[in-house]
Symmetry: C2
Subunit: 149 residues, 2 copies
């Protein structure tokens, strides 16, 4: 138990972030929930166990994590900002039916753009939209299907 907390604290210390209890728990949450949670997801889950938690802390902490490259902001939809603890470059697929966001591996670096020769590129993103396989053939996987809002 303390091992887990210690290792999370270590990650924060290495990034020069003081490992407060709230920060450790938020880091833990995004590491264990890689389904690209929103601020509300994170807050509503954690506030059950940390009743004094403030939403402002979640916002502040995520901004801190973003600057430290511990988390990546996913902006597929304009109304919901999501967070991804997998910071390596990968693509995202959003299902327009169930709302789930899937990761997929894609060789983004191979996308060389001539017209951006003299631009400094810090960040490359790829995202698709459509209907996921579960929604396309729902009856087949009924037992496995999880509906996400």
């Amino acid at each position: 138990m303390n091992q887990k907390i210690d290792s999370l604290a270590k990650i924060l210390i290495e990034k020069n972030i003081k490992p407060s209890y709230q920060r450790i728990r938020i880091l833990q949450y995004i590491n264990e929930n890689i389904n690209h949670p929103t601020v509300d997801n994170i807050f509503n889950s954690l506030v059950k166990e940390i009743p004094t938690l403030s939403k402002a802390t979640v916002y502040n902490t995520l901004e801190l994590f973003e600057d430290a490259n511990l988390v990546k902001v996913i902006t597929i939809e304009d109304n919901e900002t999501r967070y991804d603890s997998r910071v390596h470059n990968h693509g995202h697929f959003k299902c327009e039916s169930c709302g789930s966001i899937y990761d997929f591996e894609v060789d983004i670096d191979s996308l060389v753009v001539n017209s951006l020769k003299y631009f400094k590129i810090n960040d490359k993103n790829v995202y698709f939209k459509g209907i996921c396989s579960r929604c396309l053939t729902p009856n087949k996987f009924l037992a496995k299907t999880k509906i996400r809002k």
Copy 2:
């Protein structure tokens, strides 16, 4: 003058959209301003010539255009929805210094993702972030530089 309006009206009629004056002017604006304007950009420009224009009309019209594939929503930043009248598939680069959004051609269709074999893909997006060439060497192009908020 009327030729332009007529051709814009024609575009709308072909999409089964009644060519009201407001709709024609909004279509004209996004066709003439391909720098990915926000709703505010569109509204503030047009309201000077159409004082009765309502922001709700701009929102309604853009949604209508989106459904008709006359415009594409660009969501690079989570706080600003932008609109693009160039609906063919192309990439976007957002400069983190001046905020400008550049178009670039990229062969998105060549991105084949095995894990999405059984997914229905409706929309593919690619966007980069970084510093544009003008911001990297600002003195060189002083005369040409246009600062965009």
